[in-house]
């Protein structure tokens, strides 16, 4: 089928060709089913190549290189300086210049809070209130404590798996703070902070981790695969970057319904290598969809360092390749992230354009509880980022300097969260697991006959052999 596209191209590029030539290129049995589309008009980015005005003399390519003696060609019209190609005029040049794969200077990184917590810009320009800033800090601390305690719970064997967000607290919380609640979030898996900001409780997190009957996901997914329709946060799917096209589709639906909202998707540096990333960005640009693509460039994709993942100047330069406005931000600077996402959202909705944000940060923890990153990276590197570039510490310095926070409030908050978490874990552990019926529900909208049979058969079996099966699962 794809050769059809090229034959269509040939049909349009040459308007003085007889139809018999064009027809011979088409697969015979399709001839009668395909009618020639009408020639579109000339305006701007027209849908096909009718505006290709090359080939003035003949349909073969003519090079303007050294080997053509221009005096010998009889010319009735002046030489072309540029080509009126779809998308805009393209100037010709006799210089054989290959644009370099990289530029001398890397794309600059937007930062407003330095590593000592000092503001580099005028505080008025930031448009962040005390309430929002303090909530941001509180939630960053909550996230940090939550990660530590749940990680420990996994190590103790109480939950089967966990993934921390250590080092990326600013990305999680600050980006969420800059969005509104009806902006749809399509996470990868390292963004529970967005849920936290929107109101997901520690108990709800614990319920999902333990897969008990109060879990929103009804115990069907691995730990950290949170999802909440109420909070407009799509359920985490283990597959990498498949959420990127989902986001574009959701933005498309928002565009169709003219909603005053955008969608946002998060992914890592590794996720940017997938096919879905490229097609998602490309298509969102073509469709002019209000999406924010947020790349958490944390330097590692499990054990693959960024140098083995890509050779471009990070991910921010890829935005330009697809015609998308992009910015690189300091991923450990909560204020820069807040400010960038706020602006990106405004752009996305008002101008109906996708926006790409690359946040440079570091995955200070292991990839997950199934990983020991000291096996492939030096401990000093981890320490440098964990301490010196710590986003939580940095932001704390700034709000303390504003008089909005102090040591006492800090220790109260931390111990409060720890207590809540401990209670939540104990409570979640005690709750029953989802019943067997939940194994078969929601595969379809209504339970079909074959699944009903399978459920009945399973129930009968478990009833006959109760000693072989756990007692805390309702049959």
């Amino acid at each position: 089928m794809h050769n059809l596209k090229s034959s269509k191209l040939l049909m349009f590029g040459v308007t003085n060709h007889s139809s018999s030539v064009a027809n011979s290129l088409l697969s015979p049995h399709l001839l009668h089913t395909i009618s020639r589309p009408p020639l579109p008009d000339d305006s701007g980015f027209s849908r096909c190549f009718a505006t290709v005005s090359g080939g003035r003399r003949s349909h073969t390519a003519v090079s303007f290189g050294d080997d053509v003696d221009q005096d010998q060609i009889s010319i009735e019209v002046p030489l072309q300086q540029e080509l009126n190609f779809p998308g805009g005029k393209v100037k010709f040049t006799p210089n054989k210049l290959f644009t370099s794969g990289s530029s001398a200077e890397r794309t600059q990184c937007y930062r407003v809070l330095n590593e000592n917590g000092q503001l580099l810009v005028d505080s008025d320009s930031l448009k962040i209130s005390k309430e929002v800033a303090v909530k941001m800090y509180r939630d960053m601390v909550t996230l940090q404590v939550m990660d530590t305690i749940f990680y420990e719970a996994q190590r103790q064997g109480r939950i089967s798996f966990y993934l921390t967000t250590i080092g990326e607290e600013a990305i999680n919380i600050a980006s969420a703070a800059a969005l509104s609640h009806n902006d749809f979030v399509f996470p990868q898996y390292r963004e529970p902070g967005v849920l936290l900001w929107r109101g997901f409780t520690l108990q709800e997190f614990a319920n999902q981790l333990f897969g008990n009957k109060y879990d929103q996901g009804k115990g069907r997914q691995m730990p950290i695969h949170y999802g909440s329709k109420k909070l407009n946060y799509i359920t985490v799917s283990s597959t990498v970057a498949t959420q990127i096209p989902h986001t574009v589709g959701a933005a498309y639906s928002m565009k169709m319904e003219k909603q005053d909202a955008c969608t946002i998707t998060y992914f890592g540096d590794g996720g940017s290598s997938t096919g879905d990333f490229h097609a998602g960005l490309n298509f969102s640009a073509v469709m002019e969809a209000p999406v924010i693509f947020f790349c958490r460039n944390n330097g590692w994709a499990i054990s693959t360092p960024i140098t083995d993942q890509l050779r471009s100047d990070g991910i921010v330069v890829r935005g330009k390749a697809y015609g998308i406005p992009s910015i690189r931000v300091d991923g450990n600077d909560a204020l820069a992230i807040y400010s960038a996402v706020y602006e990106a959202r405004r752009l996305a909705i008002e101008k109906q354009t996708p926006v790409l944000i690359e946040a440079l940060t570091y995955r200070a923890g292991h990839h997950s509880t199934s990983d020991d990153s000291t096996k492939y990276r030096p401990a000093e590197e981890i320490e440098w980022w964990r301490d010196g570039q710590n986003p939580v510490k940095r932001f704390r310095t700034w709000i303390e300097n504003n008089g909005w926070w102090n040591d006492q409030v800090e220790s109260e908050h931390r111990s409060n969260i720890r207590k809540q978490l401990s209670q939540a874990i104990q409570a979640a552990e005690r709750v029953e697991k989802p019943p067997v019926a939940d194994m078969f529900n929601d595969v379809y909208d209504v339970l079909p006959k074959n699944l009903n049979e399978q459920e009945v058969s399973l129930r009968e079996h478990v009833k006959k052999h109760p000693q072989e099966y756990p007692s805390n699962v309702a049959v």
Binding site: I234, G249, G275, Y444
Partner: protein, 402 residues
């Protein structure tokens, strides 16, 4: 039933040896109105405009006048004639008219009208946002459709050829089929994924795939295959109205089938099989293009004195074991005729399901005629031999009924 086959002769791009199927009336003496359309026990469609079963149609048309449609054809036959791809388009258009959330996305579906013209005219009518042209990235635009569905739209995703949807396998299996379940029922995915598949006329191996074999295992999806303009339109509408993800399999060679379909709105049941020809001696289960090979063989079989019961299973996932079971209990012999390959095809699953459920009713082992386990060759003769042909079906029935 008679009307379907009369129209086939007029089709242009089908088999060079035309379908010479004469009307059932002359062969068996049965009237067309004896066609049984079971509606009892079927899962009720939530759509309010559903008219179930052709038999109802045939009866009411004899009595009702078209007083409320003044522009109706003055010809004595009710309904209107169209080709299968037009029937698909009609179903699609009616649903887009009915529900503003229904949208289409795929390659060349917009201004071009689709490679098989199923979406012709829709972009002009509904705008090119609602009938969206996508870049060549099947996994990604399928993902887009899934994302749009999760946030409230009802997209129809067109694969230019079913084979291209192999690229979308990740999204279909891991997300489309799964997210309603893994999200605890929070997000539903009412997408329709459709496109032409099957062995065509020398399209080459890569464009002659039978994807129903590969998709049939995926939990959470439903699969249906259309074979006539009537069921194409009905299944298209049902699929769009369903809240589950549905894969609608069309066949490249059936798009130009002509049939007269009702003017009234109708929606078919996604999980029902279609009784094509009632009989007593053997149950022949088939779907899509093979239905026509079976009916051609049926003519020969009837001349030889056999009375085959032909069922177009239509619903590939789940199987309509009720209709199939009733048939087996009557005839005690089963022949499955499919275009899938022998290994792991629909026939293989159907054989297993029948053996499990109806073993006691069988007088002979189940026979299954499928394509060989080879990539479809390009050469016309070889391609013909890779698809089950009517003489093979006749021979199989003779062997089964010995």
């Amino acid at each position: 039933m008679a009307s379907i086959f009369q129209g086939v002769g007029a089709a242009t791009s089908l088999d060079t040896k035309k379908f010479q199927l004469s009307s059932l009336r002359s062969v068996t003496g049965r009237k067309a109105s004896c066609v049984v359309m079971r509606s009892g026990g079927a899962k009720m469609d939530s759509g309010s405009n559903r008219i179930s079963g052709r038999a109802d149609q045939l009866v009411t048309n004899a009595v009702a006048t078209k007083a409320d449609t003044p522009a109706a054809s003055t010809a004595s036959k009710p309904g209107h004639e169209l080709l299968l791809f037009e029937a698909l388009r009609e179903g699609l258009e009616e649903e887009m008219e009915r529900d503003a959330r229904v949208c289409v996305m795929g390659e060349d579906v917009g201004h071009y009208g689709g490679s098989y013209k199923v979406t012709k005219g829709l972009a002009e009518k509904y705008g090119d946002l609602r009938v969206l042209d996508t870049p060549i990235a099947e996994n990604s635009f399928t993902g887009m459709g899934i994302g749009a569905a999760m946030t409230g739209l009802r997209p129809i995703i067109e694969g230019m050829n079913m084979g291209f949807l192999l690229l979308a396998f990740n999204q279909i299996s891991n997300n489309c089929g799964m997210l309603h379940y893994t999200s605890g029922g929070q997000f539903k995915i009412p997408v329709v994924i459709r496109g032409p598949g099957g062995v065509g006329r020398q399209l080459g191996a890569e464009h002659s795939q039978r994807l129903e074999s590969y998709f049939q295992s995926i939990p959470g999806i439903q699969m249906v295959a259309c074979s006539t303009p009537y069921n194409a339109k009905g299944l298209m509408k049902a699929a769009i109205r369903s809240d589950n993800p549905v894969i609608l399999f069309e066949h490249v060679l059936l798009y130009n089938l002509k049939e007269r379909i009702p003017d009234e709105e109708y929606v078919l049941n996604l999980e029902e099989a279609e009784m094509v020809r009632p009989g007593e001696h053997v149950t022949i289960l088939t779907y899509s293009r093979m239905r026509y090979h079976v009916m051609q063989a049926a003519k020969t079989l009837v001349n030889k004195g056999y009375d085959p019961e032909v069922i177009d299973i239509r619903s590939l996932k789940p199987f309509d074991l009720y209709t199939i079971g009733n048939s087996i209990k009557k005839t005690h012999r089963v022949l499955i005729v499919e275009e899938c390959m022998r290994t792991g095809g629909i026939g293989a699953s159907l054989t297993a399901a029948i053996t499990e459920n109806f073993h006691d009713y069988l007088d002979a082992p189940i026979m299954c005629l499928s394509s060989q386990d080879v990539p479809t060759p390009y050469a016309g003769t070889l391609e013909e031999w890779t698809v089950v042909q009517p003489p093979q079906i006749v021979a199989a029935v003779e062997q089964l009924c010995r």
